[in-house]
Symmetry: D2
Subunit: 422 residues, 4 copies
């Protein structure tokens, strides 16, 4: 697949555009019109809405302002598929996106095709660098929604006890109780210093990753691999979910109110733990990174383990010289994979997003984008925490050392895990 | 169409079964798989769920107990499509029926066909009177759900501002400001006496309509037609929605909390009132019965008009010797029709359900059905109010003088109106 | 104590006024300023508020309109101590009555004295019959609030685990497991007929008790005593709180949401049941009427026992020729007392309010009072159920055969019990 | 008053103890037993509870573990007056602290006296440095609660429209529309550098202020005075509360849900703005710092003004060499005072707490206290934002450059304001 650097020429950009847009469509394989309408909570959106909204993005920020003579596909879509851009206008309330049976999925597909045709014309006409930049933003935006399509449909289908075929002889399957899983993780050491963080000037990045700036880091150690399911089972067994001493006060209340006893999607059947995957229930893999945990749980685990969560800068320091490779969405496994024994610092990229202790905040000198796109990141900089590194549902093409994802500390439906620091 | 009296023979019953089942299917015309999945509030259910649940009813109460060798279509359906029968087992929570994308609509249609095939066999084999009685109950049950299918999809599509084609020159259309609309309604007088009410021994009835029993009625007068939209506009103009003096205390709080200013589905566009119908927005018809009002509004209107709501017995006294004809679902207009001038007592049946002041309660000597069907009516006898007469969405075949419908006083999504008494 | 009949002369009325007002004050014995400010739920009010509101009643409906030259004590009180009279003006929101630390209790006592002085003058001046009628209404109103003062302070102090002295050797105390408690209750039989119900023309009554009118009653049997605690323990032991088959659907949801497992104020300590009384925890008395139950529980018990709740007319038929005597507030025991063995129909009056199956509704021909007092009863006639007979916290002087009390079916903080019918 | 440094000897500590404890009592002047019981929201506590809880602190952490032969005053107090220490045991639920009419205020005063007597004995006996450290913590803890007593009673009395005497000719009073108020504020410049922050080794500090550590700060400018009411009125006039462009997304939702249009306690009467103070309503003082604003409002204002909030380190850098003086609680004015013209950097200490953009988080190497006191700060380090500098309700003796206060971004009932940075 083309990276955005390779997309410097108009031809490349057109090709990349088609690649990304096709991948979005490919994610609808196996989903019915009914599946694609599901919305199981206000935080999540229907597949159908994602399909339309990502197209609305190109229509709103590329075609309407920049394509001479462009005719809006359907005026109602401007209302229905605006996500949160106050500057663009009113919008359909987020919690009832699942009530949009009309337009039907066929109309949404037609809308996508209409936008793609119009975009092809724009991209064929050698867009200016400014316009190309907006298109590239639109493609990164679409890759973000590809990940949400996976996590949202997983959450939606999970509400239906009969969405998946019943597990066949699941309990008979032995857990991979290998040495990797239970081995004490090793830590890599990093020295104190004044380091540079954030996105470099060249290449794509979101406004919230800029400007590149200096931060003083104290010396620290970082675990060579994410916390795995074997460790999490030990936490459960040690009463980790029952002792408020390990928990933030808000976290403990959240745990009580939601009666959390294990990560989201975990289920104990006949004494054995299973987890729901995008292909149904599977036995817990001991040496795979724990997944679908909240910040509150990650923080409690770290305290129980006598460690802490790393800051986003500590994570970035460890990751910034590593190759961006790993278990990403392109593998289409959409499930964290086991760690490798004795492999040194691993899985920083891919598998699970790693909660950091950093509240999502503006970098010194932060300036939002001009216009409506200025609402992309800045207005969410409160009460959310930064996650780093991407997951098994993240497009690899989207990843950078400086990439900052962010969610509320109670949220668990993303492929979120943790790595210990001390 | 056959009445249940005509269905006395097995052949007739089989034929009637097919008629009712076909009519249910016919109601899905024009609805997509996505439309049929919509659930806009816990009170309402998806079309798809109604289709399945009415089949589940026959499977559970006829086929499983009475059809030798019957094989359950899908064990999961017993959980998914049980409505509220505790005696039958656990069930999928009502508020998230809209999250059932699986089974898909095609599976539901196949399920219906499977049930129909099995029922054909049962009905061909000369069922016992006891079994025939359960089948007839199932058909009445299905007709009730036909009405809910209409009211529920209306409510669901109403949440989508673009579900219907935009009204074309609606405001140009003149309102039928005829004399019928604004004429002072006449009242019919009924003398005091000890009367018999409730279902007769022969013919189908629900347990809650029995036993037939004596009630003493004081003399009263009943308006010859339901309150119409012209009267309701006068109520609005007189500040009826703004003065607590007309309202029950709970009703006033309900009005404040929900900011009611007009019946459900009414909308003022450029100074003119419109109402949403199953075919989109239409100008208010002045001489048609007001519809989609709550008990609270009905009661407030009656007090404002210096009258009161009739009791369910007063209604029944007036209706019991009238022919059961009117604007029912069979007409497929699904919208209350204007009253006729100088027609005497009219529209008791059809058009709109009429709120009575009677709390839904057991008749003296009431005995619920045996078994799970005993949950059909009795357990809802608290805090609901009786409506009588059927609406434009009610099957005529379902109607009897003794038929008791019931809803909570705040509910408005049924085709509910009122008739004044004094 | 004087009855209202005896209060026909001005002297008598003045004397009765003083008696009732003094009794209200007497109820504050043992309560601190802090106790009197407690409001534990929106349904209940602080003692202090009751003291002021009952005075506001005389100020608003007697002194301001009828006492020439009367000067309002404090204009702010008109806002603070109006309960729900929309016609009188705006008012302090009910749920935050407990936040009124100012005026302090001393001001409230001074207010009462000021009102009493002004009322003495009015009453000394031979009030017209019309004015006397309002005064008498005010006294009945005050007696109603005397009962609420008891039930509200009981509920408030119950929220504080250390409000009462610890029970001393409570568990050692033997329960009065006498034969009365466990004896099968006998039933009295009443014949069908057209009977008259409601308040007679002479003597005080509320508008909702009028007009006296005919109701046809079918033959029925009524238990000779209220359901007692021994029976309730049997209900609990039989799983009455665990089987939805006995419950109304709304009742079952209410039970689940509130996790009811026993009447309000019951507590199991070391295997023995206790109940909170106004003097602290006491062991359950087996032969005393069960108390502090909701309509939902009463209805479930009756169904479990193969009986039903009586209608309000059935109760009135049984009670209307009995002497109005029993365990009323005047005894100052404020706790239901055990039944007597073989005593025939007993305890219809006093001890516990008896839930009936009658929804609180207007009698045929009901006309509310003129003016603001018209809001006294009529606007509450929805979704509440009638209780009859008075309790151990009701003033005997307030009781009549036609007296209708009413509460929501989920409410339990009144001294409410039940008597079986069949 | 003695500082904690002066309290190095036992005599000094005893004297300081008495001073702080007496000041707490002094804050109850003018409050009735009823006032002291008020709890107007779960975030706030009754005065009475503060009085008891601060005593419970000494009983629990000093007397019970360290005073030989100490007899607990009342075992129930251990349950009633524990705030949030899970390690100490169960506790009375915070939202219903206002329902504790018993023990009465006289018992609470007696409890305080009992504790003081026991503490006098402890302090007279030359406590070990470790014990002295806990006592000093208890005094700082008590000073924190002194501030909460003021803010909580202000909030409680504000719910009562008649708690204060009516304002007399308030509107006639001219606003101090002086030049100071509307003059463009000047900014002080600070250079980038690696600076040390946090509490020094000697002297009292909370665990969350430690360890002292290095942070790299970029160059910045800080306004010489807090944002004042004249500026805030300009923000309101410019539509600051109506344009989502200035607001964080969560902030805008919070504003909508709570219908904020001005700071808490502001009220427009006849076209003029007033604010509620602890002595009643006063006209807005234009040159006084704006107060009672949330983080969300502070952030929106800063964005509107083309600036930002400072980080807590920027604030500390500016403040660390300034004398700790200003308008503190000792002045007993309990209201922010106007700024002085041309005075350079001013009012960093006192007047209003200044919101910073720093999420409340652990410093590198943070270690909570041992034992239950470890719950003091660490478990609140999520979703709260740091405020610095103290307010007009803060004890001066409590203030340090490193002092970190923290609240949720929606909270407004503290004396919270802001200072701009850029």
């Amino acid at each position: 697949m083309l990276s955005e650097q390779q997309a410097a020429t108009a031809t490349d950009l057109a090709q990349w555009y088609n690649t990304v847009r096709q991948r979005t469509l490919a994610l609808t394989q196996g989903l019915s019109a009914e599946d694609m309408q599901l919305q199981s909570m206000p935080d999540a959106s229907p597949t159908k809405w994602h399909l339309a909204h990502t197209s609305w993005f190109f229509e709103t920020f590329v075609l309407k302002p920049h394509s001479v003579g462009y005719r809006v596909y359907d005026a109602s879509f401007e209302y229905l598929f605006n996500s949160y851009y106050d500057a663009v206008g009113d919008r359909h309330p987020r919690p009832i996106r699942g009530l949009l049976s009309r337009p039907g999925i066929e109309s949404i597909f037609a809308y996508r095709q209409y936008i793609d045709n119009a975009m092809d014309a724009v991209l064929a006409a050698s867009p200016t660098p400014e316009l190309a930049a907006v298109v590239i933003t639109g493609l990164h935006h679409e890759m973000q929604h590809q990940e949400l399509m996976l996590t949202d449909i997983k959450h939606a289908l999970a509400q239906n006890p009969y969405a998946f075929d019943p597990p066949q002889s699941l309990t008979a399957q032995a857990q991979n109780n290998d040495q990797t899983a239970t081995a004490e993780p090793s830590f890599s050491r990093f020295d104190e210093g004044l380091y540079c963080f954030g996105a470099a000037a060249n290449g794509f990045s979101y406004d919230c990753e800029r400007p590149r700036h200096r931060v003083f880091c104290h010396g620290f150690e970082l675990s060579d691999r994410p916390v795995n399911n074997a460790q999490w089972l030990a936490f459960i067994a040690a009463g980790g979910y029952k002792d408020p001493a390990y928990w933030l006060s808000d976290g403990w209340n959240c745990r009580l109110n939601n009666q959390w006893q294990a990560p989201l999607y975990w289920k104990k059947i006949a004494g054995q733990w299973f987890e729901l995957t995008l292909t149904g229930y599977q036995p817990i893999q001991l040496s795979a990174p724990v997944c679908h945990i909240s910040y509150f749980e990650a923080d409690a685990f770290a305290r129980w383990a006598g460690c802490r969560l790393p800051s986003e800068f500590e994570w970035e320091l460890a990751a910034q010289h590593l190759a961006i490779q790993g278990n990403f969405a392109e593998s289409q496994r959409w499930q964290p994979q086991p760690s490798t024994a004795n492999a040194g610092l691993q899985q920083l990229y891919g598998d699970v997003w790693e909660w950091t202790c950093s509240s999502y905040a503006a970098y010194p000198g932060f300036t939002p984008e001009q216009g409506a796109l200025g609402e992309y990141n800045g207005k969410f900089m409160v009460n959310q925490y930064v996650l780093r590194g991407g997951s098994c549902a993240t497009a690899q093409a989207q990843m950078r050392p400086s990439y900052r994802n962010f969610f509320y500390p109670h949220q668990r439906w993303q492929f979120s895990g943790l790595r210990l620091a001390r």
